[in-house]
């Protein structure tokens, strides 16, 4: 059976996180190829602790049935597990009610739901949607599609040369704005955006605030009310949870004024040959069989993170980021350019860099030879990369299972790259 309570040994109540101990809970690090795994790509997807893998396996092994409306005990048990997962997620992000938590397939679907369902119902041609130049494609393409379909106008907040959001144009951009959609943390620059400040200004201007928290919820203590968001999207697989599940949180009143997204079972109250009546929140937005085992897995992930403590997660990542910035600076000086803020308190544990004239693909390939996983490319943020004047970057990102030795290995690997290409 699955371990359902927060694993106590993950909550040693120390002042610092013991990454070695945490790592022991992640089976993938035992994978015995010819090299130890140095995983520095958690911004793309995190690894999964035993508790999450076992929670899902345990669910299938002991209580799977389709949820809702099943009268028999097994279905009721499965429904209970699914709805408890919703409650766990609500608690984790400080949502006033579990009714405000909608399970989607990933963060991308959550953002599409907002753009299409809320957007089509509430936006008219010429209405202004404010985005930023550092958005992930998931928070760009749906709005580009909406611009094409509905004729809304898109405006972009730019970024400063040190990778912060440029707020000098905020007031002008907000003039007539109906939506402000921004990322709480850039998946390329690591920048933590002043969401509350932007949200307050947006609300004064009468705009709804959509926060892409895909890189935020996994790494920082989150309180949706404190952030000032109306909608908040994030994704399970980046927060120790499984693939196949994402979350859209929305303020109850805003969700109520949002029409259904996909149509089908579960999201209806009644269906006739000539029309249908939608179900109540949150099921109105969950058409078809939901990601049941995935919700159970996500709840287990939430418990693991709560067991460690999100303050602790954040402190650990600040410490690692500082260490990384110091180490790379000391070793490579001007040969290595970090994109994004330098102060680790203003950023998350995501470090994009350019190294000499080496191409990120070559860097990632050579690092892989030493078991080091970093991402190379545009990180689904092509407009941002154009703004940075590069076609690709190398990106290293860390999480609860990483420690200083991983950064040291990265630095060592970069020396090897430099030697191989003799540049």
């Amino acid at each position: 059976m699955a371990t359902l309570s927060p694993a106590p040994h993950l909550a040693p109540r120390l002042d610092v996180l013991d990454a070695r101990r945490v790592r022991a809970e992640f089976p993938i690090f035992e994978r015995c190829r010819h090299l130890p795994l140095i995983y520095l790509d958690s911004a793309a997807s995190s690894q999964k602790p035993r508790a999450v893998i076992e929670a899902m396996a345990g669910y299938y092994e002991t209580c799977h049935a389709n949820v809702h409306r099943g009268v028999y005990g097994l279905a009721e048990e499965a429904t209970g597990r699914y709805e408890q997962a919703r409650a766990a997620v609500a608690r984790f992000i400080g949502a006033p009610s579990a009714r405000e938590v909608v399970f989607t397939k990933n963060a991308t679907e959550a953002l599409n739901l907002v753009a299409f369902s809320w957007g089509r119902a509430n936006l008219r041609p010429g209405d202004v949607v404010v985005l930023t130049e550092m958005e992930h494609h998931a928070n760009l393409v749906p709005w580009l599609m909406l611009a094409e379909q509905v004729g809304v106008e898109l405006r972009y907040l730019g970024i400063t040369d040190d990778g912060h959001l440029d707020l000098s144009g905020l007031d002008a951009a907000l003039d007539g704005a109906k939506v402000v959609a921004l990322t709480a943390m850039s998946n390329v620059l690591g920048t933590l955006n002043p969401v509350r400040r932007v949200a307050d200004a947006a609300h004064v201007a009468g705009a709804v605030v959509v926060v892409d928290a895909s890189q935020y919820v996994p790494h920082l203590p989150t309180d949706v009310s404190a952030l000032g968001a109306d909608f908040l999207a994030f994704t399970g697989h980046k927060m120790l949870g499984p693939t196949g599940i994402g979350v859209l949180w929305g303020r109850e009143a805003v969700l109520e004024s949002t029409p259904p997204f996909l149509g089908g079972g579960e999201m209806i109250r009644d269906v006739r040959l000539d029309g249908f009546t939608p179900n109540e929140l949150p099921w109105k937005f969950e058409a078809g069989t939901p990601p049941i085992a995935e919700a159970v897995g996500l709840a287990a992930a939430v418990r693991v993170l709560e067991g460690i403590g999100m303050e602790m997660v954040r402190a650990h990542e600040i410490a690692l980021t500082s260490y990384a910035l110091r180490t790379l600076d000391a070793r490579f000086g001007a040969d290595l350019v970090v994109h994004g803020p330098r102060a680790s308190a203003e950023r998350g544990g995501v470090l994009s860099f350019s190294f000499k004239d080496l191409h990120p693909h070559d860097i990632a390939q050579v690092l892989d030879q030493s078991g080091i996983c970093v991402r190379a490319g545009h990180h689904c943020a092509k407009p941002l990369l154009r703004r940075l004047g590069v076609s690709a970057t190398s990106r290293a990102s860390w999480y609860v299972y990483n420690d200083e030795s991983d950064i040291d290995a990265l630095a060592q690997g970069l020396v090897a790259c430099s030697e191989l290409f003799c540049l």
Binding site: T79, Q84, A87, P96, R99, R269
Partner: protein, 164 residues
Amino acid sequence: MPGLEDLYREIILDHYRNPRNRGELACPPARRAEGFNPLCGDEIVVYLVVDAEGRVSDVKIGGQGCSISQSSASMMSAAVKGRTLDEVRALNRAFKALMTIHESRLEGDEGDGSGTDTPVPDPAVDLGDLAALQGVVRFPVRIKCATLAWNTLTNGLEELAQPA
């Protein structure tokens, strides 16, 4: 797993097999309220006559559905007949409280996800036969069956409060 005997108490089966106050009333003087559970198709019609003193002088029940929804409606009809509207409201509150006393579930710390406050039962209200429905809370899917009649009645009373 809770046993069937918790759910299908003899008194419930009795109300199911021999429903009290089954039928219709002419409207007016009666008011008619209809309740529908679209998820399972259960249907309740409540006919209600409230006299000048604000007392339920007659009540009849129509509709169809499962044993729980039908027996609950039957018990309700017996319980409210002859009561004042204030007494009916107190009964309704007491019954709702009965239906929301959740036991700690698998993972008790996370509640039922509904986020609503649990009403506190009023020990002064005697539910009579209705208390037999207590076992329903152990079968969460069936709670809506048990409360359908009462929700229908409440809607009827609200309408009554509005100018006709």
